[in-house]
Symmetry: C2
Subunit: 650 residues, 2 copies
């Protein structure tokens, strides 16, 4: 089982490594073992040259130009690769869409009294969203507005005669023109997913470029889905504001009933976080022997959701999720959907930990299934906590081994929070300080980090190398999703990190804002914007800046990076980031190298259409350098000063 060849290949995070050592001793199979067992991975699959879309296959194409060069039906490498990308985007869109639809249904139910445990917590956000999407707000009750926003959001899932409202009203006019010009205007979230599945089935679309444009259209539906999810989560649970919390396995408290919320949607995790302070429940926990009561910790994006809103500490994320259980002190892991490795069930079997699934579409054999319904959310949350308290009693003290490593982490930088912070510097024109500093070169550019941890990369290694390189060159860093997890546990969401790694210009800007905000020092080096759907928040900031400058998004010195991407959702997000005009880096090579055409289109030709393009570069320093060059190119385009990095890069 434990044939892991080198710990350094697993992670750069000491807490993860300590837990992994523990797993090794206990002979527990981990994701890194399974990866080793998979090596060498199939070369056809790795290059995208495999097709299983019909029962005449499986078909494979030789990556070396030998026979066969076509599948049974005649599909060539370009078609196979483009179809993989299309279906990945569709799956990502369906996932974010499912998450968003779930929230929209809950908002509707809450507004009509069918989900009594939920309420509209952020009226200002609700009104802002309503006004943006064209819903009347004057002299109307909050619930009435909420109902209309929810219904309008739900309408986004079916095919309409018009563009998706959440896409059309949240981007620049220039983007809309470009989407119309290239025929990629999305008109329905679920319907775009279905269209991709149709066009990628046997004997439909055989034109790789047409397929890729279809994928872009679907990805823009994904963007709308992400934006709906962010908006409604804020309405129901509050728009994040800056706060301080902690991250890494050390947040698991040996004296508490520890419950990890894992997955993506805040619907359940927020409810659990809310009632975790309930006196009766804490009494029960104490009665069971947990002197510190109940301790909720986050894993992955639902962890981010409760982290940015309530300061719930983040235990771990992505590739190291099994390690939370290996601490021996996690009493329950409660999951909703997405990015939950089925293996957590197997690892949990070696401990007292209860794995609790909650969603009808996401069951795992070996877990307890407590189905979550909006109608009695609080009751479900309570039942789950009681299960955890029961489990606590069955802890095996000999198995407890919590790495004491944790880091302070600032979080909660929603678009609204960033604007608010900037308003402390210039109340009348909050974007001005940001723009002035970009113009002056104190902020050389902006990089949004997103995505996952991929087992193929030593955990966090790419994030850490890239941020150091970018920050010292005065690039402002935003993060979402498991990128936030990486930076949080690695200590980059601190003032100390700003002082240590930021270039002089960036440091001065972050310090000015931080001091205006009463922090007695700079803002953290990374602004944690939220979960992976919250990439929409970064888009909002970029759009605001573009509109203020009167230029389109593809002219801004803004770039994106997913240094360690895993999921099909990342493919969807990356694709809309490119369509939004951003040079977008991937630090793991996706299965596309089998098609020169697709590679050429995605890394080059697409720039002529949307301004954005993919940069695939596994070496993090080189990646940072390419992103810096991309920023320079944009700065040049705006007539701003540029720095020559060629000689600077170490």
């Amino acid at each position: 089982m434990n044939n892991l060849i080198d710990k350094a290949q697993a992670s750069t995070d000491n807490a993860t490594l300590a837990a992994l050592e523990q797993a090794k001793k206990a002979n527990i199979e981990t994701v890194w073992d399974r990866y080793q067992a998979q090596l060498p991975q199939c070369g056809f699959g790795e290059t995208g040259l495999c097709c299983r879309h019909c029962m005449q296959g499986p078909c494979r194409i030789s990556p070396f130009g030998e026979s066969p060069q076509k599948g049974v039906c005649g599909a060539n490498a370009d078609v196979m690769v483009a179809r993989w990308i299309s279906r990945a985007v569709a799956a990502g869109t369906a996932s974010h869409g499912g998450h968003a639809k779930h929230l929209a249904h809950t908002l509707l139910k809450s507004a009509i009294g069918e989900a009594p445990d939920y309420s509209i917590k952020d009226e200002a956000k609700l009104k802002a969203v309503a006004q943006r999407v064209g819903i009347e707000t004057d002299n109307r009750s909050t619930n009435d507005i909420g109902k209309d926003v929810a219904r309008k959001a739900l309408e986004e899932f079916s095919e309409k005669d018009s563009p998706l409202t959440w896409a059309a009203t949240t981007v620049t006019g220039g983007r809309v023109d470009s989407f119309v010009k290239h025929g990629v205007v999305p008109t329905g979230i679920d319907s775009e997913v279905a269209e991709i599945m149709h066009r990628t089935t046997y004997g439909v679309d055989a034109d790789a470029i047409n397929l890729l444009l279809g994928a872009v259209k679907c990805a823009l539906a994904d963007y709308a889905g992400c934006h709906i999810a962010t908006d409604i989560a804020d309405v129901l649970f509050g728009t994040p504001k800056p706060l301080i919390t902690q991250a890494n396995l050390g947040v698991i408290n040996p004296d508490a009933v520890n419950i990890a919320v894992h997955g993506h949607n805040p619907l359940l995790s927020d409810m659990i976080s809310q009632i975790a302070s309930d006196a009766d429940l804490n009494e029960k926990a104490k009665a069971a022997g947990a002197s510190a009561g109940i301790n909720i910790v986050g894993v992955c994006c639902t962890g981010n959701e409760v982290m940015v809103r309530h300061g719930i500490p983040l235990a771990t994320s992505s590739v190291s999720q099994e390690m939370a259980i290996v601490t021996g002190a996690l009493d329950a892991m409660v999951v909703d959907y997405q990015c939950i490795m089925p293996s957590v069930a197997t690892v949990a079997e070696c401990y007292h930990t209860k794995l609790i699934t909650t969603m009808p579409i996401a069951k795992i054999p070996g877990s307890v299934h407590i189905e979550f319904h909006e109608s009695n959310a609080k009751q479900t949350a309570q039942t789950i906590i009681e299960h955890a308290i029961d489990a606590f009693k069955k802890r095996d003290p000999s198995k407890i081994n919590i790495p004491t490593i944790k880091s302070k982490a600032f979080a909660g930088f929603s678009a609204e929070a960033i604007i608010e912070a900037l308003a402390l510097v210039n109340k009348d024109d909050p974007l001005k300080p940001l723009i002035d500093n970009i113009v002056a070169g104190n902020i050389y550019g902006v990089c949004l980090f997103a995505g996952c941890n991929n087992v193929k990369v030593p955990q966090d290694a790419n994030y850490v190398s890239m941020i150091k390189e970018l920050a010292r060159n005065n690039v402002l860093i935003l993060s979402t999703g498991c990128a936030s997890g990486a930076f949080a546990r690695q200590g980059f969401m601190t003032q100390e990190a700003t002082n240590e790694y930021a270039g002089d210009g960036l440091k001065a800007v972050l310090t000015a804002i931080g001091e205006a905000a009463g922090l007695g020092g700079p803002l953290p080096l990374v602004l944690h914007m939220g979960s992976c759907v919250d990439n929409s928040r970064a888009a909002d900031v970029a759009v605001a800046v573009a509109n203020k400058l009167g230029v389109d998004l593809d002219k801004l010195p803004v770039v994106a990076s997913a240094p360690e991407p895993v999921t099909e959702k990342a493919v969807a997000i990356g694709t809309w980031a490119v369509a939004a005009g951003l040079p977008t880096h991937l630090g793991v090579i996706p299965p596309v190298l089998g098609s020169k055409t697709v590679v050429e289109v995605l890394t080059s030709a697409i720039k002529g259409m949307f301004g954005g393009y993919f940069i695939v570069e596994p070496d993090p320093i080189q990646a940072a350098r390419v992103l810096l060059d991309a920023i320079s190119e944009r700065r040049k385009g705006l007539g701003l000063s540029v720095v020559e990095f060629a000689t600077e890069v170490v």
Copy 2:
């Protein structure tokens, strides 16, 4: 290129074999060559033990029980296989759904005057559909009813609070109860597709049985999509009535401008068929040298659509589609979507044939793209015919070699047409003769043949062996899709076939009805019901019989078979056939053998839930025998006489 080892492995159809010989001489690569080049196919893919749903993969599981037994995330064989099935069903559902939605949009546009070339051709069908789905018909104009039917159909694509109307109103009450009981009630076509894509992405559903039930739910949405497609096609183009036409490559006329319509939707093919008789166009064709004017021929399911409605001859279908071009006398192949092998472009390049793509979601490099819009359908059809006339002028006489083989074929047996034929025997109670004869054993049972030709099976071989075995045992044969293509070209849609192959009981019944219908002999051995969406017609007949008998579908001696299946659509149809209660045979092993659990559920445990189940049996005689046994089991259940086949099977 032409490394085909044995012609007998390619096809059992002499026309196809003659054309293939021609292709071989001309050194033209065909589907059979490409299949040979793919051999041996990947064993992981063949058994379903390969996963490419995230960028930590590709992952493979050893089919021999060795390491690895899990993917990087921990997904096991059951999960991988169940996810493949789920996504295949989703793709199939999206395809039929796209086709249905296209028709519904056109009906709506026609009803509101935005598609002047279309009109409601079958008012009786429109009213029947309207009444079934709960739309008022009294004292309303045809267009008003049409508008409402179209809108109601379009509503089926988004998630609703209620079951899909086209599913709930077209099955037995018992089926509805069973769907509710097992949590598989579909509530939206596109939304079910999206739900599958969500639950099959990284880290969502890891419970194979839960996944399979999700696939059943999606497949029932596919059933609704198929039914909408059939209903609206009938409304716009007329409900098929029995007619006589011809099938096989010999229908290509050396003296005519030959245009093959290929794909699935009748929207364009019906328009082309309608205007092909236009005097001016025929004059143009004659002026170009085509003394016989314009000759439209069908390929695959859009071919079936115009065959069952207008008697357009079927040139070929499925795996032999390239052969239509190899005749050297096909001037244009016009395609819409689905089952169009990209290779037709390459084959067309060797001839004067113009390959014309027409749909925005289905382009093929090397073809002419003439985009089809409902708003000017007739004009598009005319332009296409003119392209074909132009191409005719460039024919190379030395390349013309049309196999002179063709067969007579009866077609057009819609559910309505079957009931009408039965009414000739018993006007007041048309189903009575059918039921009486089933009870008496003259009709031992009913088998619906559907599906494709798979390159892994000598073309039509399974169809031919199975029909002979079933017919001589008095099983009434229905067919759709490329099963119809197979039976048509192989001469089974004739009265002669009835006389030659039907058992005495079946022959007597078919003769009684045929003579009552004034055919001077029996009905054909196979009743051609239409295209693959028209499997809904067979369901309608079965539901009518079940309701009349007062039993549920899963009690009827009705079975289904896809002896040579290819597409993801076939997976979707097969899955809803099983959920509808039918024992459903597949003659090609789908990529599921890697999971004992999935195999056990789909071939056995599912019977306890829905009555239907999959039978996977590549040997056609053995398959027929298993289906006969399944029919016997049903007959026993109804207290009807049974025959012991064990000693009868040759």
